[in-house]
Symmetry: D2
Subunit: 154 residues, 4 copies
C-alpha cells in the first residue's frame, strides 16, 4: 500500500526566474531535492538518521521533462513518490504542478545510492540501517512496487 | 562530417560545492547550458541571431548521469555535440570531464524547441531563420546524423 | 506606529550549503529578497501592484554581516523592516535568526528605487501609485521613521 | 607598492539573469568570490595553501552597490584589490565593469577572517602560515595600505 504524503508546496522566488521571464529549468532539479527531503521528513525517513549512521546518499542521475513554464510568485507543489528501493539504490519520481494555473509544469526522476561517508563505497541499508530500510520498503509506490514485491535483490 | 569545436573549459567555483564537499548535481545542468551557448558561438550559431529573428529556444527536457564527483577549483571541460536537429527541435549531448583528474564526471542530454518570442508557438527555422537552419544541419553529429540524413521531417 | 508582520520562515535547502558545510553567504542576499517579498505581501504591499502600474523596483545596494553559520535543514526566520521610504527610494533592514539554534545568523540591508518599466527612469510613487505610497509610508519603522516624519523630500 | 593582477574576466551565463532581463544582483556577490580566488591564484596566494595548513577563511561581511545592469552574454571583468590585511582579517574591494558596454556595473567589498578548520577559532597567519602572511602583506593596496603600514596590530 503506497504511502501518501502531502505535496511539497511553496512560491517561486524572483531569483529563480530568467531573462525569458519564467523559472530557469535548472531550478526544477533543485525543487526535486527540496521535495524529496520534505517527503522523507513527513514519511518518517529523516536524512539526519542516515547521517548519524555515517551514510551519505549520492545522486546518480536526474532527469526532467519541462511541460509548461512557471512565473515569479506562482505557487507550485511537488508530489514525490519512491518508485524503486532495494536498500542499495532508490529512485524517486516527481510531478511539479502550478497551483496558481492548475497545470503540470514538469515531471522528473532522480536516482540515488547509499555510500559510507568515510569510504564513499556503497552500503546495504538492510544491514547498516535496518529501521530505515524497513520504513523505506513500506513507502514503495507506483510501477516499481510490483518489482520490489516479486523479490528485491537484497 | 561532424563539426569539432573546442570543449568548454573552466574551474569549479566555491559556491557550486555543497556540504558533502563536491559540486552540487544541479550545477551540471547549468554547465550544460554554458557549454551549449559556447558551442553555438564557436560554431557560428550565435544565440543572438535567433533573438534578432524574434525566436526563443525553450528547453523541453534535460537529463544527466553523474559518474564521479568534482571538487572546488578543479578544472573541468564539457564536450558538446548536436545530435538531433530538424528545424523545429534540437537535441544536444554533453560529456563533462575533470581535467584535473582525467576522468568523466557526468554525461547529459538536453532537448530544445524553437518558438516565436511573442506567441510562444513553435516555429520552423527553415522558414524563419534559413541561414541558422542550414548551419545547424551542417553541425549534426553522432547517432542522430544518420536519421537526419535519411530525411528530416521538415 | 511600526507595522509588525510575522517573520519569514523556512528550512535551509541542501543546495544552499557549500564545501565548508554551512550555507554559502551569497544565499543570505537571496533570503533577504524572499523575506522582503513575503513582508510586502503580508503587509498588503504586493509587488504585483507595482507591476500592473508599469513600475519596477531596482536594487541599488545590498550589504550583509555574517554573524554565525547555518547548516542544512536548520529552520531560520527573517525579520524585515522598512526603515526608509520617500516614494522614490526604499531601504529595508533584515535580521536572520536560526530558529534551531536560537541565535542571530546575519544582519543585512538593501536599497531600492522605483523605475518606469519601459524607460527605466525613476518614478515618484506618490504620483504614479498613490495607494502603494500611502501604505508604504504607514509601514515605516525604526531609525528612519523620524527622518520620514520630519519631512520626506517628496 | 601595490600588486597588479589581470582583472578576472568572463561572460554572463543565461541562468544568472532574472525576469527583469538583467543579471540578478545576488550573482555579483558570487562574482566577487570568483574574482577573489582568481586574484589569489594569480598573485601566488593559493587558497589550497591555507587548506593544507588546516585554515579556513570565513566571510564576515559583504556589500555591493549596483550601478548599471548587465545582460546575458555580456563580457564583464572584475578588478580585485586587497585593501586591508593584518594576518587575522582581510578586506577586499572589487570593481565590476561591463567590457561590452565599457561602464562600471557594480562596486563591492568583502571581509574575511582566518580560522582553524577544526576548532573554527581565529588564527594568526603570521604564526600559522608565515609565507602566506608575508605574501599577503606585500599585496596590500589602496586606502588601507597606509593603515597597515602604520602598525598592524599583529
Amino acid at each position: 500500500m503506497p504511502f501518501n504524503v502531502e505535496p511539497y508546496k511553496r512560491r517561486v522566488h524572483f531569483y529563480e526566474t530568467d531573462a525569458v521571464g519564467v523559472v530557469h529549468h535548472s531550478n526544477y532539479v533543485r525543487w526535486m531535492e527540496e521535495a524529496r527531503i520534505d517527503f522523507m521528513r513527513r514519511a518518517g525517513l529523516p536524512y539526519s538518521d542516515l547521517e548519524r549512521a555515517g551514510i551519505l546518499t549520492v545522486v546518480t542521475d536526474a532527469a526532467c521533462r519541462f511541460v509548461s513554464s512557471v512565473r515569479f510568485d506562482e505557487e507550485f507543489e511537488v508530489t514525490t513518490r519512491l518508485v524503486d528501493f532495494n536498500g542499495v539504490k532508490a529512485v524517486y519520481e516527481y510531478v511539479i504542478r502550478s497551483v496558481t494555473c492548475g497545470v503540470t509544469a514538469a515531471e522528473g526522476t532522480s536516482g540515488h545510492c547509499f555510500v559510507d561517508a568515510a569510504t564513499r563505497r556503497p552500503v546495504r541499508l538492510k544491514k547498516r540501517c535496518p529501521a530505515f530500510y524497513e520504513k523505506a520498503l513500506s513507502l514503495l509506490d507506483g510501477p516499481a512496487a510490483g518489482r520490489a514485491g516479486s523479490g528485491s535483490p537484497i
